[in-house]
Symmetry: C2
Subunit: 469 residues, 2 copies
């Protein structure tokens, strides 16, 4: 038997066949075919269906063995009872990877289903076919044209994400993309029968395409392997782990979801810290940390400059920063003198955080003062509040807010320090304001600016990404 | 001297004059006039400006004494140096309330400015003129046509909000409105020289228009009065307090913002709990609690039914509920038997939280199972995940998602128990999905459904609103 195929082949297969491809547009069996087409997969795509001649415009084949060329990956949407036969065919054809979208195995709690899963595992080993899944949506790798839904973004990047849950992977991809994340290798490995998150982490550690790694885990099939993979990955790259199933109810839910043994929450936190990973406790925290790790320069210290928004926001920003162990240093003398030169009445009043509302009529803006602060070499990082609700109330709101955000983006891109921008969710019922906030956020995120929905979330993420003294 | 006027007059003045009304469209002096017009104030509006004949289509008067009829409220946009003279005029005219939008007093840290503030306070007492502010945007009370920005919602309701910060008040009103909150009496009292938050709380306690009270405070001018007002209000209504300036940096920022002495954070938390108020530590928490308190039936217990979203969401929901001290009870036998009747294979697999992704093809939906759960009289409350990202991927996403949300809304409105709906922020770059999520959320919130941006935030708010056993 040849040695097991490299994961390189999984992520860049020459040809893909979809077993259980369907003519029904509302089915996974058609989604996989259309996803490969939509994401621009350049190899051959073979829909397999003994009762169809054409699916999504492609000729259909009755079985994988009937396919004329080599196949590196078979995606199965067949029911659980058909998998042993499919495995036999893959083995005879020399297919190195079989991805089982197919579920309803051990996660159902049914003993027969669990036994079938074990037989599949043994048969796959014997035939030299590696298994991704079962009970997982598989691969999204836009650089290779792979994906599990036709509406996933075609634009790729360096963020890898491993997810035990399929819907969670979709949410992280779509929401992350709207936040500016650009994904490389994303894997929903489901029950993790053969290709485990530990193996994937070891692979991603050395993968030149991957810059930041996130993962959502409920439990792991192979604790020691996971820890070793995590340590290898975290030694080279930022790794963020969202561990779910921390509670009694969560662990029970995880067992019925992916047959996962969730394990002790405290043990997990200790293990993640020891491996050098950063722990997230919600999808929001995961996304915030991935945005910070992927889009910002490395956070090297805790001295924070804060600007923008009115007085209430400034007080809240100061609280958020200190409660996330960031240090709100006073304005240095050189900045105070620069302010005095333009607006003497403000020089002894303005402070860090910079309250935008006291600057009216002074010729100074919060962005201008933030530029002075970051040039002063006293601060390690910055949080800039857009304060969109203030702009809404002014004439020319669109021009003013876009101008301010452009200046902020230019500062963030030129100053060499992490600048987190705070722009709330689009939380208004006015179509005009909605369009404005959406367009400004899109403009910032597509330029790679790290945007957070609240100053509390920005401060929390920066506080977790910063080194402890 | 007559007794001080009742706050009834402040909230429902017969006529309002704006001192410092301006022909400049980008000024507070014009904003106040246009706000009264936009919000439908039915009394007389008198712009005061000695150098203008007409402002925003209304005849301008040179001074408050030149106004022909009675004036119950003067709003001042004049600079600080002009206030003593304005006060004299108000006193002679018999104006009961003067609102000072005018700032730059003690909050600047300047000794002369602080002294002027004290002289104004003494003069106002002597002349029998009550002062709102200084350094505050004043009143938003849509039922009476009062407001401080023309773009504030005209539709009113029972949610009162007191805010030391003006921009924070604007944010809470606009964002709260998008979440379904409908406001009654909102006051940005700024430095709180005369009309204090304590007095306002005592007033709101007995105000028949007010059902729920929120407040944002940095520090209070009168600690004992605040505590007494808070206790009186919390004895009759839900009161939620966002206390900022909890940290050293936050307290320093508060001093320069509203000259507030922020006080010890621990002392504040203890005081709020003792008074029966609920503490929020961010604007997000404040809004979540006000949404829960205002839009949901009273939360009477902690046994939670959870449904919707995929398996990963279910695990995360279970964690969020338990970590917020809600109890995730298993499905009762009667529900399990109802499931068995329709889908035998699911009866021993499906659980609470209900994983929507395992129901495909069963004829059961997560909403349907949630209906069974709430009918079973085992659960005190529910959290329903919309799972919008799943709908995005299906044909007829619009019809399906709207249908599901309509059913959810009908359940929430008919079951008599609190049902929190989870629909993420509009976090997608697809114009089509954006329009879908925006329209579904608008539809839910305008029907008075409580919508939260994440299951963690929903669980947290419900856990704080529920009684402790």
């Amino acid at each position: 038997m040849p040695p097991p195929a490299s994961l390189d082949t999984l992520f860049r297969p020459r040809a893909v066949a979809v077993a259980g491809a369907s003519t029904n547009v509302d089915s996974a069996g058609q989604d996989y075919v259309r996803s490969l087409q939509a994401l621009g997969f350049t190899g051959a795509i073979y829909p397999l269906n003994p009762r169809a001649t054409e699916i999504a415009g492609l000729p259909a084949y009755p079985s994988v063995e009937a396919v004329p060329g080599p196949v590196d990956l078979v995606i199965s949407c067949l029911p659980a009872g058909a998998i042993l036969e499919l495995l036999n065919q893959c083995g005879r054809k020399g297919v190195p990877f079989l991805h089982l979208f197919t579920g309803r195995f051990s996660e159902t709690g049914d003993a027969e289903a669990a036994e079938l899963e074990q037989r599949i595992e043994a048969r796959a080993k014997a035939m030299g076919v590696r298994i991704l899944g079962p009970n997982g949506m598989g691969l999204y790798h836009p650089a290779a044209g792979l994906g599990f839904r036709p509406d996933l973004p075609a634009e790729g990047g360096g963020v890898a994400f491993l997810s035990q849950s399929g819907n969670n992977a979709v949410e992280v991809i779509l929401r992350g993309h709207a936040r500016g994340l650009r994904f490389g290798k994303v894997v929903n490995y489901g029950n993790g029968m053969d290709v485990t998150p530990g193996e994937l982490l070891r692979y991603l550690a050395d993968d030149p395409e991957t810059t930041v790694i996130g993962a959502y885990v409920e439990g792991v099939p192979d604790g020691r392997g996971f820890f070793q993979g995590l340590r290898a990955a975290a030694a080279k790259k930022r790794v963020i782990i969202h561990k779910a199933g921390r509670t009694r109810a969560g662990a029970e839910s995880a067992a019925s979801h992916t047959a996962a043994l969730a394990g002790s929450s405290d043990l997990w936190s200790a293990m993640l810290a020891q491996a050098g990973a950063i722990e997230a406790r919600s999808q929001e925290q995961l996304l915030d940390l991935m945005v910070g790790a992927s889009l910002l320069p490395a956070v090297t210290g805790r001295r924070v400059a804060v600007a923008g928004g009115g007085g209430g926001r400034s007080v809240q920003s100061a609280d958020a920063c200190e409660e996330s162990s960031l240090t709100v240093l006073p304005l240095p003398g050189e900045v105070r003198e620069k302010v005095r030169a333009k607006a003497p009445a403000l020089a002894d009043w303005v402070r860090n955080p910079v309250d935008q509302s006291i600057l009216a009529g002074s010729g100074l803006s919060s962005n201008g003062i933030l530029e002075m602060m970051l040039a002063a070499d006293v601060y390690d990082l910055a949080i800039a509040n857009v304060g969109e609700d203030w702009f809404f109330g002014r004439p020319d709101a669109e021009d003013r807010m876009k101008h301010a955000c452009n200046r902020l983006a230019a500062l963030a891109q030129s100053c060499g320090k992490p600048v987190a921008v705070v722009l709330g969710p689009t939380e208004t019922m006015s179509p005009r304001y909605r369009a404005l906030v959406d367009s400004v956020r899109d403009d910032l995120t597509t330029r790679g600016i790290a945007v957070f929905y609240s100053v509390e979330r920005a401060a929390w993420a920066l506080g977790r990404l910063a080194p402890y003294p």
